[in-house]
């Protein structure tokens, strides 16, 4: 039975490591909604070392999903609490569980990412299509689609664990 399972799971594992799959979500007028859904889904499949009662989402700069996010808690009823920053604040960063880098400069983004490196914080960069800000997840906006890239190196360094099934949906480097 175990062998059968391995046999069936093998294609999955192969695809997870080499996956080149754009997440095709229509953008345009729905860009804000798509971004919000993607961020929420990423948080769904992120595991922190200790179970969080509440997830602190730190938003730096102007975010695509607007001021209304988050609308609701996660599927397992853990609420998401949003904290917005406009300035670099190293002291505040320690309280973050997730860091969303909005419309900020690359240098600043790197600063934020360096700040949370080695801590249980999942990082998402909105304005980094080349994924060079050392964020774990970089959003890529197409004409009619939204996809993301996964920085495996950053994921490996982080204390959070991201479900490997997410890998297959990420766009390859």
């Amino acid at each position: 039975m175990k062998r059968w399972f391995l046999l069936l799971a093998a294609p999955l594992l192969i695809c997870a490591t080499n996956g080149i799959t754009p997440v095709a979500v229509p953008v345009g007028s729905d860009a804000a909604r798509a971004t919000a859904h993607l961020v929420k889904s990423v948080l769904e499949y992120t595991r922190w070392p200790k179970r969080r009662e509440v997830i602190n989402l730190c938003v730096v700069g102007e975010a695509r999903f607007g001021e209304g996010f988050p609308h609701a808690s996660l599927d397992n009823d853990v609420p998401i609490r949003r904290r917005s920053f406009t300035q670099f604040d190293s002291a505040a960063a320690s309280a973050c569980d997730a860091l969303y880098l909005g419309k900020i400069e690359l240098g600043r983004a790197r600063q934020w990412n360096a700040l949370v490196r080695g801590t249980p914080v999942v990082t998402i960069a909105e304005h980094d299509p080349q994924c060079i800000s050392e964020a774990m997840i970089c959003l890529i906006y197409g004409r009619n689609s939204l996809s993301f890239e996964l920085n495996v190196d950053a994921v490996a360094r982080s204390k959070v664990r991201i479900d490997p099934r997410i890998f297959r949906m990420a766009r390859g480097l």
Partner: protein, 410 residues
């Protein structure tokens, strides 16, 4: 032979018996194996389908959460490979179909048969619900494909057919071996029995083939043949003796009147056919009655024996002497024979009869013979005519001799 019921041969009975036995055994064994394997295979496939459904559910769960239909499709395709899955459907929480993947591998099996197999074996799909935190977000339905089963059954049937073919071949070889070991000796025995019946070939024997039961049979058969042979030989010998006794004179050993009449008819037939002639001699002892009365019957018998011996010595090998009764003898000089030759034979007989005849305890006696001759066809063409002529000639000769004796005694 036609019209007569011909009973089946041992060969056909045995080979038919072998064939049906092997066919039955093969069909029973292979049927049981195929059926039990098919049942095990179906159970295995059902478990496998469930596992596939579970794996698909696990694989596509994040893609469904992300709302990424392309990733859902890819996840399905990566898991549901091979020919075990006919189609795979993912239905959303709202009951609408989200994605579907259909088997691309068609193979050699006709679609109608495949569809029938699917309907019979996998009418209900393996179903797994994808849930997140107790909330069902989608359902995975996996419909099994019967193509593997159909191929298994087909190859099973092909193997059974091949095995039956091999078994039939082996049966025919076995039957042929049986034929040479059992049926050939039997046929040989039948052939020998027939030749014994038709040709009286009692000396023939059936060779032993080297199979104990058949050897026993052959041995008994051969000993029966030996008994028959000795019995038959005894019988023929007895027959010969009886025949000889019927046609020969026991005292002198020459042919009797019955044989004479028979041979005379034959001689007439032969002469008529070959258009040649033969001669008949009638001979009668002169004064035999007197010898018999004077010296007794033993002496008479000795004289008769001596006469038949001397007559036999005077004729050619092909000719024969017959004793017609009393002191009356006949000789048939077979063709070709002329009057001169007849005369010389008569002359020889006269000469040889001049020698005295030894009789037991009384010394010697003399006895001459009166000879009458008839020639075919000069004196007659029938046996009666010839006999009459010869007889008359003989009496004339006897009369002449008596007159001569009378004259010489005066």
């Amino acid at each position: 032979m036609s019209g007569k019921m011909v009973s089946p041969s041992l060969h056909s009975i045995l080979s038919r018996g072998y064939r049906s036995l092997i066919l039955l055994a093969l069909i029973l064994a292979s049927g049981t194996i195929i059926a039990s394997s098919a049942v095990a295979m179906i159970q295995h496939m059902e478990r496998s389908l469930h596992l596939t459904a579970r794996t698909v559910a696990y694989t596509v769960e994040p893609a469904i959460v992300f709302g990424d239909v392309a990733a859902v499709r890819e996840g399905m395709a990566s898991v549901a490979t091979g020919d075990m899955v006919d189609r795979l459907v993912i239905v959303g929480a709202d009951g609408k179909e989200m994605a579907r993947s259909t088997r691309s591998f068609e193979g050699l099996i006709p679609p109608a048969i495949l569809q029938f197999g699917n309907d019979v074996l996998f009418s209900t799909p393996a179903k797994i619900e994808i849930a997140r935190n107790g909330k069902v977000i989608a359902k995975v339905l996996v419909f099994g494909s019967s193509s593997a089963m159909i191929r298994f059954l087909f190859s099973g049937i092909v193997i059974v057919v091949c095995c039956v073919g091999i078994a039939m071949l082996a049966t025919s070889i076995l039957a042929r071996r049986l034929h040479s070991g059992v049926i050939d000796p039997l046929n040989h025995a039948v052939e020998v029995a027939r030749s014994v019946r038709v040709e009286r070939a009692f000396s023939r024997r059936v060779p032993a083939p080297g199979l104990r039961e058949v050897d026993n049979f052959v041995e008994d058969f051969n000993s029966l043949l030996s008994e028959l042979q000795s019995w038959y030989e005894g019988l023929t010998q007895e027959n010969r003796q009886l025949e000889r006794r019927a046609t020969h004179d026991p005292l002198t050993g020459v042919g009797n009147r019955a044989l004479f009449e028979q041979r005379l008819e034959q001689a007439i037939g032969n002469a008529r056919e070959q258009e040649s002639g033969f001669a008949l001699l009638y001979l009668d002892g002169d004064g035999f009655k007197r010898i018999n009365d004077t010296y007794g019957h033993d002496a008479g018998d000795a004289v008769l024996r001596a006469v038949s011996e001397r007559l036999s010595s005077c004729i050619r090998n092909a000719d024969h002497v017959y004793r017609l009764g009393g002191d009356e003898f006949a000789v048939i000089l077979t063709s070709p024979v002329g009057p001169d030759e007849v005369a010389s034979v008569v002359e020889r007989i006269g000469q040889t009869m001049r020698f005295p005849i030894t009789i037991p305890s009384h010394g010697f006696v003399h006895m001459s013979l009166s000879v009458g001759c008839a020639l075919y066809p000069t004196h007659g063409r029938s046996a009666a005519e010839l006999c009459k002529m010869a007889d008359e000639a003989m009496y004339r000769d006897k009369l002449r001799r008596r007159n001569n004796d009378l004259a010489s005694s005066l």
